[in-house]
């Protein structure tokens, strides 16, 4: 009895989480323009979506920033995890402190802090500021993922490599990096997703000249419900599912 109730409760919550998104996806194929009832199947909204130049430009910008931000965050985050895990140095406290601040400060505060910073330094808001903000946002996610991997790492392997004459950087390249690669890759994927989905920080640091998808969606949603938003939401949701599944597969491979 208890077990029955438990699983009913479980699936009710899942329904709460998935039904709204599911409805959006179903509606993205609905040929009715305003009505919420079903008027027949169509690919039309997707065609309209992919024919919208501005939107496609914004999508391209989003993917460019997400790819670059994820890659640079993966590099910096891995280095941060490595030095935090293996070495004692004077900047350690600064490093820990900033990762702590990054983790706990609300996105909106981070967004406005960066906005003020960029404006004070007279850096024009646009691609560069967005990229910097996203790298910074993603860095701790990579660092923590890689740190978890390093924690179960056998230090003796590196010692062996050094005894055989490897320098620190060669040991990193040939021993440590291959072993932590799944974690780095998972960190990359999570960073990519994070960058693609961020609204709050992008809202403050992107500027009018460089448009990205989440902010496009924001201005579209503010103007009301339109079927092409359904299609766009469906595309972005599907992309998120693929990315999360891949990251999940990578972290699972790690645990084996």
């Amino acid at each position: 009895m208890m077990k029955r109730l438990s699983s009913i409760y479980l699936w009710l919550v899942y329904a709460f989480l998935y039904v709204p998104i599911g409805i959006v996806m179903v509606y993205s194929f609905n040929s009715a323009r305003f009505a919420t009832n079903w008027r027949g199947f169509t690919w039309g909204w997707y065609a309209k979506l992919f024919a919208n130049r501005q939107l496609m430009d914004a999508a391209l910008n989003t993917l460019t920033v997400a790819t670059l931000a994820a890659t640079l965050a993966a590099a910096l985050g891995t280095l941060a995890a490595l030095v935090l895990h293996r070495y004692r140095f004077r900047g350690r406290k600064v490093l820990h402190g900033s990762i702590f601040v990054l983790t706990v400060s609300p996105d909106i505060v981070m967004g406005i802090a960066m906005l003020m910073f960029f404006i004070a330094l007279r850096i024009d808001l646009g691609f560069l500021t967005l990229l910097i903000a996203h790298i910074t946002l993603c860095l701790p996610f990579v660092a923590v993922t890689v740190l978890a991997r390093l924690a179960e790492f056998d230090e003796n392997i590196v010692e062996a490599a050094k005894d055989l004459g490897a320098t620190e950087s060669r040991a990193f390249r040939h021993i440590i990096l291959p072993l932590i690669m799944p974690a780095v890759a998972a960190g990359w994927l999570l960073s990519f997703t994070l960058s693609m989905d961020d609204v709050l920080i992008s809202f403050f640091v992107s500027g009018p000249s460089f448009e990205i998808l989440p902010l496009k969606i924001y201005s579209m949603v503010r103007l009301g419900v339109k079927p092409d938003i359904n299609a766009l939401s469906a595309v972005m949701f599907t992309l998120t599912v693929v990315l999360v599944l891949t990251a999940h597969a990578l972290t699972k491979a790690r645990r084996k």
Partner: protein, 297 residues
């Protein structure tokens, strides 16, 4: 832990430390300093010291916004906890082979763009929307209703977007729980409620606090949820801060309001650290480890 010997390591340390100092610590420090400066005509800020920005926040209008935001964020957090805890418990005690997949079903909405999820709620709640149609069909109402532009809509929107943020840390805490302790408590004659109250609850407290933080803080900051679901009638803290920066151009006031937000957060972290110490777990980076490992789970 080793001494630094090579140029590669030294370069890495310098690059990473510089990046974080410049793009994390410097902006945050600037924000804090700005709260003590007067507003400028041309440059947003002057170099005159003042406490006036904090005084200005004692305005009844702001206090009302502050109170409303905390009330809504608080209710959202409480409801997410009440619904999330049993869910996380069932998840954490489910069959081992099934568990990763069930967990994955929570992780996917966790990573889905919150704007898209807010938009999905518009589809459900708007006049002639899904909920209205379902209620009509059930005969519970006789004409289409709209739940949009109410504080209920904002609350539902927050709960919908933030529930996974509550479940994941709870799950992590409950999964770590040693079930033998519960058996021991039962063997010693405790009722189910006593066991929960004195064993399960204290041991999962770090997860509860982490989950509450991950729900409460975004609920204060995500300005687009009240804007989309509540309309312009509802001004919450996130909207207020955003407006000071983008519309009113009153940086010091906006900065002071966000500093209050951060101060609240620090108070919550202190509570968290105490609960961590209570369960005898400590160590450098425990909090960010806890928060981030569940986010990237």
């Amino acid at each position: 832990m080793q001494k630094i010997s090579s140029r590669f390591v030294r370069t890495s340390i310098v690059v990473v430390t510089l990046w974080l100092s410049i793009f994390v610590l410097a902006p945050q420090a600037m924000l804090l300093i700005a709260t003590f400066l007067e507003r400028g005509q041309q440059d947003f800020l002057t170099t005159t010291f003042t406490l006036g920005n904090y005084v200005r926040l004692f305005d009844p209008v702001f206090l009302l916004i502050f109170w409303e935001s905390f009330r809504l964020a608080g209710i959202t957090t409480l409801v997410c906890l009440l619904f999330g805890y049993p869910f996380a418990y069932i998840l954490a005690t489910s069959r081992r082979t099934l568990r990763p997949w069930l967990l994955l079903l929570v992780i996917i909405p966790f990573w889905t763009n919150s704007l898209i999820r807010t938009y999905a709620m518009v589809i459900i709640l708007k006049s002639g929307g899904v909920l209205s149609n379902v209620l009509l069909w059930l005969g519970l109402i006789d004409q289409p209703i709209s739940l949009m532009y109410t504080d209920f809509a904002i609350f539902i929107g927050f709960s919908y977007t933030l529930l996974p943020f509550m479940i994941l840390p709870l799950f992590a805490a409950i999964e770590k729980l040693d079930m033998r302790l519960l058996d021991a408590s039962k063997d010693l004659g405790a009722t189910a409620f006593q066991t929960f109250r004195h064993v399960t609850l204290p041991l999962t407290m770090p997860g509860i606090v982490a989950g509450c933080m991950l729900v409460f803080l975004p609920a204060l900051g995500m300005f687009y949820v009240p804007e989309i679901l509540g309309g312009s009638r509802f001004m919450l803290l996130g909207n207020y801060i955003t407006n000071q920066f983008l519309m009113a151009r009153d940086w010091p006031l906006g900065a002071a309001a966000s500093t209050i937000l951060t101060a609240t957060l620090i108070m919550m972290i202190l509570v968290y650290l105490r609960s961590v110490r209570a369960s005898a777990r400590s160590g450098e980076g425990a909090l960010e480890g806890e928060l981030l490992s569940t986010e990237g789970a």
